[in-house]
């Protein structure tokens, strides 16, 4: 009986010692990548759905989550290639950004230059009046021909 109790105690102790694997720890990991989504007036797209697609696997996201309060969505890529991030605020606004990773370093593609907003407004207004002006001109011309 005594031997049995000692044996059980030894087994218990060994099992308890081996059970430390159920614990959980966390360490800092460097080398992440991410995107920041903002509206055109600079306001961050906060707490919106974000999906991450690995290189060559555009059919199913490998990670889903939400942007943070600054509109950022971060991830840690484990392979090189083009990683695609889509962010959707659920109200019809969505953006997709491709990140080219080469040796864990994001190779920034040159962004297409956007026209400054004030130039865009002036150009847009000129085009609007131009388009409708041409329409009126064509209408007049056509009605003039019909009248002859």
């Amino acid at each position: 009986m005594r031997r049995c109790v000692v044996h059980m105690a030894l087994v218990w102790t060994c099992a308890a010692a081996a059970a430390h694997g159920h614990g959980i720890t966390a360490d800092r990991v460097d080398g992440g990548a991410g995107v920041r989504a903002v509206y055109d007036d600079g306001t961050p797209v906060t707490f919106s759905e974000a999906r991450l697609f690995a290189p060559g696997k555009e059919d199913k996201p490998v990670l889903t989550g939400t942007t943070d309060r600054d509109g950022c969505f971060m991830f840690r890529p484990d392979t090189n290639g083009v990683w695609r991030v889509t962010i959707d605020d659920g109200m019809g606004h969505a953006v997709t950004k491709d990140l080219q990773l080469d040796g864990q370093v994001i190779a920034h593609k040159p962004e297409r230059d956007r026209m400054p907003k004030r130039y865009g407004i002036v150009t847009g207004l000129a085009l609007i009046f131009g388009v409708f002006g041409w329409f009126a001109f064509l209408r007049l011309k056509l009605s003039g021909r019909a009248g002859k």
Binding site: Y39, D40, D41, T43, V45, T46, F47, S48, T86, D88, D89, G90, M91, G92, H93, A94, V95, T96, R114, M115, K117, G120, I121, T123, G124, L125, L127, I128, F129, V131, F132, G133, F135, A136, R139, L140, S143
Partner: protein, 207 residues
């Protein structure tokens, strides 16, 4: 209120494009040479008004002003807003070219509804206070209708209608108020300086 590229499915985009084409066709047929400057002016107002943003909660909303455009233009609001939306997509990446049809229908169709409702009531009562209140309500109503149509388009793409609808309507409450006040003030001003523009007896677009 602009739906971005890649959000909607192909059939929804195609349906929107067809409906927008029909609306633009009807609008162009009714747009005379005399009414072209007014159409261009309201297209420009919509183009610039959409750039005025109001941060609201997790999203971001902007003035729409499709109510006043609809009240003054009727069906011609379709080509007016289509041109403005096309240029916004081209220059500011608002919405997109593939969703141009859906966005045009979402913005312009409530404007047409506002036009007929305004004509209906204005024919009966035209005191300044009533005109202001009516235009303000219709300005807010067009934003609400646009929001519901946006929700319906998103729901057709597989999203839960109710959840999205509540989010969009709540997010656009400030826009409804702002659009309503601007529309009411504009209608009041027009009543004083050019009341003939609001006359229900006038042809939809004078020739």
């Amino acid at each position: 209120m602009h739906i971005s590229e890649g959000v909607l499915s192909g059939p929804v985009l195609a349906s929107g494009a067809v409906l927008a084409a029909v609306g633009i066709g009807v609008g162009l047929r009714r747009m005379s040479v005399a009414s072209t400057p007014r159409t261009a002016m309201l297209s420009a107002v919509f183009f610039v008004g959409s750039l005025i943003h109001i941060p609201f909660g997790p999203s971001n909303v902007h003035l729409i002003l499709n109510g006043i455009a609809g009240i003054l233009l009727g069906w011609t609001v379709f080509p007016a807003l289509a041109v403005a939306l096309f240029l916004q997509a081209l220059m500011f990446q608002f919405g997109g070219l593939t969703v141009l049809g859906v966005n045009t229908v979402n913005m312009a169709l409530p404007g047409v509804v506002a036009y007929y409702l305004f004509r209906l009531v204005f024919g009966i009562a035209r005191r300044p206070g009533i005109v202001f209140g009516l235009a303000a309500i219709l300005g807010a109503l067009t934003v609400l209708l646009s929001g519901l149509m946006l929700t319906a388009a998103l729901a057709l793409g597989g999203r839960a209608f109710l959840g999205v609808a509540v989010g969009i309507v709540v997010a656009h409450v400030p826009v409804m108020i702002a659009d309503g006040l601007v529309t009411g003030a504009a209608a009041l001003f027009i009543l004083k300086v050019r009341p003939d523009l609001l006359e229900p007896s006038r042809p939809e677009v004078p020739t």
